[in-house]
Amino acid sequence: MRISPAGCWLIVAFALVLSSRAERATNHWAFRAPVRPAVPQLKDRWIRNPIDAFVLQRLQKEKLKPSPEADKTTLLRRLSLDSIGLPPSIAEVDAFLTDKSKDAYDKQIERLLASPHYGERWGRHWLDAARYADSDGYEKDKRRMVWFYRDYVINAFNRDLPYNQFVIEQLAGDELPNATQDQIVATGFLRNSMINEEGGVDPEQFRMEAMFDRMDCIGKSVLGLTIQCAQCHNHKFDPLTQEEYYRMFAFINNDYDAQRVVYKPDELMKVENLRTAMAKIEDGLKAKTADWQARMAKWEDSVTTNQPNWITLAPRIEDISTGGQKYLMQKDGSILAQGYAPTKHTAIFWSTNNTISNVTAFQIELLNDGNLPCNGPGRSFKGTCALTEFRVEVASVLARTNVSKVKFTSATSDYEQPERELEPNFYDKSDRHRVTGPAKYAIDGNGDTAWGIDAGAGRRNQPRKAVFQCEKPMGYAGGTIFELYLEQNHGGWNSDELMNNNLGRFRVSVTTNAGPIVADPVPKPVRDIFAIPHQRRTPRQVATIFSYWRTTVPEWKEANDKIEWLWKDWPNGETAFALIARENPRDTHILTRGDFLKPQKEVTPGVPAFLHPMKSNGSTRLDFANWLVDRRSPTTARVIVNRLWQSYFGTGLVATPEDFGTRAEAPSHPELLDWLACELMDNNWSLKHIHRLILNSSTYRQSSRVTPELRDRDPNNRLLARGPRLRVDGEIVRDIALAASGLLTTNIGGPSVYSPAPAFLFQPPASYAPFEWPEATGPDRYRRAIYTFRRRSTPFPALQAFDTPNGDYSCVRRMRSNTPLQALTTLNEPMFMECAQALALRTLAEGGKTDDSRISYAFRRTLGRLPAPDEKSELLGLLKRQQQRIADGWINPNELSTGKNEKPENLPAGTTPTQLAVYTVISRALLNLDETITKE
């Protein structure tokens, strides 16, 4: 190839650009590990800790002075909203005001950092970054039960789990030695990605979308780098190549997207107790049967070869019969159902076989799979399934029109489920008597009965099998076409909810052996162990065999019954999304422009060259996680302290918390950022340590009052010559109203609640499909907003109005808008009105006997401070005017104070409905003040 001179110049110029960019990149401050800077030695009584020294140094440079300390009431409200997301009660304010001790403020910090609400407040920030939501997103946007992850985060913050450990658990808790349930639940972090199960999707396409999302999430939340650019090409500004992106990708590309059964603490205890009790009974059997091992071995010998020869059919699906579900052929001849899950469909498979001509029986094995709910083998929310009918037609390859239906004479299975009503979850609006039961229900020609496999809590997610005996041998010499009809009609009415009851992973096989063929009673996990030589079996494997074998020993009936009885006590548990490493890692390729259909070169796990090197050559998620929180990581510690700073002061020391790359503007206080990062790492990555430092600083304690000059000079308060004054996050806007009214329920954790919202939002055409929103009643109505169910496609209106992200993707910086829709929300949304009414009632009950004391009381409940005289007279004016209008008959006081035309209940003695009504007006005004929803 010849290159023209002009072309040469171009190449040279381009190379220069590249090299200078690379140079700039390696010199970029954020790509070099932070080194603890010297604290400026300034002599100033204002300085309480090194934060102040750094801030003051900059202020002096700008010829600015810090603001005086905020008054105590304002400070406590600020401190309280920042630490726990709730305003202080009147009693808390009074206690602080009367505490004249030197460490009064420090005591408040300690009280608040020790509050369990601290985890709710700061966990919520992480949940933004972790794009937590309670539904799948995309069209179906089905609910998912993942609140264990939310509670894990809250608890982790409350116990101040070191941040490095926290990040490790997020990415690889399951790979830690002796991983606890909590550590497994933590991997829900990566699993919070959206899932697209709309009809006709290619599951691999949207698995890859989810993988990109996980990479983006790690980039924003932990690394502070915009790595997703490199999904399609080398990063344009930072020295991250596309290959490096996919090398990081390779660490996290080897997992099942699992959904696991998890237990609450009391349930976990119960599970442990039951396990112990069962083991004790089994130990008893072993103790009184000296030769049990020999007897078990003899039994094993008797059953190892007693099975007919099963030939796997590995049939193909008729596309038209899938109902939109994808049936994916697996290497072992089984079929895995993924993607959209219709609640009723008949899947038709066909298989041509030229060698089998005398089929005596068909077998359907239901198999576990890490991608199925609770490991399967079904696709229902419990991992179970129901086979309504199984029909087979055979035809001759030579004469295809000659089709005969297979008549089955018996159906047997390894677990014969007793007949059971279909759970309400599968209600199909037909009001027919639909049941599941033994395998014969799949060949009884009755569409209301189905073969079911639910063996109860603790045992429902086992592989199962059923065998269907033909009346006479079927098939044709010269080749047979088998057409298999798997009717799966035991799901519910709405395929856009968790109502499917489909097979998850299954394998169909046939035998030509003569004689009565019945399902092998020996469970698959036991038979799998048979394949392992005795001397190489683990104690656990031996125990697994024993647990089955004992059930076959007649004289142990009593012990077996006892254990059976114990199983009935096993808790159902809940579910959580988690990762489970696959036995065989996937190959990871560079993808042309991020297109999963265009794989290029294969890559191995590895980390970008411009960041610190790995300590190990490992390729697991755990290796990757350890690398992320390596002391030498240039961004990890900086990124998290920057986010804490952002939350306190509105803007981070780096204004773009998601991007510390070469395009990010320089930090406002680079030394302070590095000092905080080192301080975090040197103090066992304790976030509470950093909180304590910030909260203690004079910088934080400044008054937020601002002069026009300073405002124009530093509108965003980057120089920190004043304290922060910011509208609180959406959740806290709502929580403040609930707290002020006294309605707030302060329970920590548990399933998400369906806070009151307009019903039409969850029905078409506002929602794609109907979505059940069983509005919370009782105390759950008044839970903190962190517990409000988050449906991605239907953001909760009162939170959305205040810029709460809906979890579609990782968010480390919220907007802070100020809009008319916010005003409409706090003025008119029913829950805010309910709060106004409740605050009124409480004011009459507890606020003294005069309007003067009552107004002060309501004011303090809302704002912490006492009203100034002119504020009080403003409110008194409103009170008098509306009192008069009620007296004149313009307003129905009962309607105003109850929302119904009913007399108010619990009216405090000596008060009137009119008073309750006017205090509802006063309370509503107070809840709508700018100051109420502002940290000041």
Partner: protein, 478 residues
């Protein structure tokens, strides 16, 4: 470059004193109070003047000042409505040519499915002889006012990603929608109503959900506001029970006075912005119900649309869209999710056209007779097309991204033309293909916005609606 800081300065420049007085002076209790407030607001410095939705000048003189986007969600069959293919009719029942299917993925069907001929009669209409299906008799009457694009193509063939793609130029969630980009670029002529209004009708909701009209990384003030077509159009618009108009006003005045007192102490301009937000909310409480009350429309108008006061329907929404743009709303998007005909193609298309054809045509006629069509851009279309191959027996079509039809009218669109062609089976856009990015670049152009210059800095990168793509479709311009 568009950083928040830059954005802030631009906003300041864009806001005229006249606008400021108009928006901040009206609606307060008394004129005296109004001017008192104005003084305070001015005293609060420039940041107090920020209304991110104040009208802004476009990059160049626009042809369209506002948009009504009729989003036919679910994806209508171009083959049965607009794009008549004699060859498809001829080879109906046979397998498609293998070379057509190379590398082709379908959502539900095996691509090796038989071709299915058009299900309806087609005829030519208007001066230009545009070909339309018999299902669109009303559109036929205004066909000389619209431009039909038969060569649309997109990247996605599942509903949610494809809807998000058409709206945001990306299949991944988190990017701003075209309505959000438009209001970000142009602001809004009214502050009595939201700048970007969305309606949803049809038997289902949209697949993409709220992200279809989301603001992505743009400030959330630019996101679309979903209007309910019955009851309160905007959530929480009505006063709570027991609160009458006078009490609401009295409460707002008290809240404002207390806020002003507090502003005197703190000096935070955010307080004045909040006062303004409450005043705008109060005005919305009056203007939105007035907007929704279509009973004041003439009988002729109601009949033309097929709208009925008190009902919720696509027809009502079309009429409401006209009322919205009349009142200065910048961007109106009507979703009608009904077009996913995997089966029941014939009956459902008949039904859908019965529910929409008249109102779509009425909207064109109505805007025209009011002199508004010339600067109002109307867009009709879905997220992709449908397969020439059959799904199921003989009455359904699968998703198809390679070719589909949209139409546009008004706002600088050349009327009475048909642009582009698909191949003989309606499978691939073959002549003058218009990719989604090209469409979006053209829409922005008509609004006076250069799609490569309308950017927002996020994560160190200047993002655009059209990503790094998009060619202006000049043949569509009048």
């Amino acid at each position: 470059m568009t950083t928040p800081e830059h954005f802030f300065n631009e906003q300041c420049k864009a806001i005229t004193r006249r606008w400021f007085f108009k928006q901040c002076g009206v609606g307060l209790g008394t004129i005296a109070l109004g001017s008192l407030l104005n003084q305070k607001l001015f005293a609060a410095g420039k940041s107090a003047l920020i209304n991110p939705l104040a009208p802004k000048a476009p990059h160049f003189a626009p042809k369209a000042k506002r948009v009504i986007y009729l989003f036919m969600a679910g994806a209508p069959s171009h083959l049965d409505l607009f794009d008549y293919k004699p060859q498809l009719a001829k080879f109906s029942g046979t397998l498609p040519p293998p070379e057509l299917l190379k590398g082709y993925r379908a959502a539900f069907i095996n691509p090796q499915s038989k071709l299915l001929g058009p299900k309806f009669k087609f005829a030519k209409y208007g001066k230009a002889g545009a070909e339309l299906s018999e299902l669109l008799p009303n559109l036929a009457q205004v066909v000389d006012d619209i431009a039909i694009v038969k060569s649309m193509k997109t990247d996605a063939f599942n509903h949610a990603p494809a809807q998000i793609f058409l709206n945001t130029g990306s299949q991944q969630f988190g990017r701003p929608s075209i309505g959000a980009w438009t209001t970000y670029g142009l602001g809004c002529e009214t502050s009595d109503l939201p700048a970007f209004v969305v309606f949803s009708s049809g038997p289902k909701g949209t697949s993409g959900g709220a992200s279809n009209w989301g603001s992505g990384f743009l400030p959330s003030v630019y996101q679309g506001v979903l209007f309910h077509s019955q009851g309160d159009p905007i959530l929480y618009l009505s006063n709570p029970k027991g609160v009458d108009a006078e009490m609401q006003r009295d409460t707002l005045d008290t809240v404002r006075n207390l806020n002003l007192k507090h502003f005197d102490i703190t000096g935070d301009p955010e307080i004045t912005t909040r006062i303004n937000s409450f005043e705008m909310a109060y005005r919305m409480q009056t203007s939105a119900p007035e907007l929704m009350d279509i009973s004041k429309e003439s009988k002729t108008t109601l009949e033309m649309y097929g709208a009925e006061p008190g009902k919720s329907s696509f027809a009502n929404n079309c009429l409401l869209a006209r009322r919205l743009v009349e009142r200065g709303v910048r961007f109106v998007q009507l979703y009608h999710e009904a077009w996913d005909q995997h089966g029941n193609l014939v009956a459902d298309l008949k039904k859908n056209c019965k529910n929409t054809d008249q109102a779509c045509a009425a909207l064109i006629k109505d805007l025209k007779q009011r002199g508004m069509l010339e600067d109002t851009l109307v867009i009709w279309g879905g997220e992709f097309g449908r397969t020439p191959m059959v799904q199921g027996g003989d009455d359904g079509r699968d998703h198809h991204p390679n070719a589909f039809t949209m139409w546009m009218a008004g706002g600088g669109i050349k009327p009475g033309i048909t642009l582009g062609e698909s191949d003989e089976f309606g499978f691939n856009a073959s002549v003058d293909p218009v990719h989604v990015h090209d469409l979006n670049a053209t829409i922005l152009h008509l609004l006076g916005l250069e799609h490569t210059k309308l950017t927002y800095r996020f994560q160190g990168r200047d993002f655009r609606l059209t990503d790094v793509h998009g060619e202006l479709v000049t043949k569509l311009l009048a």
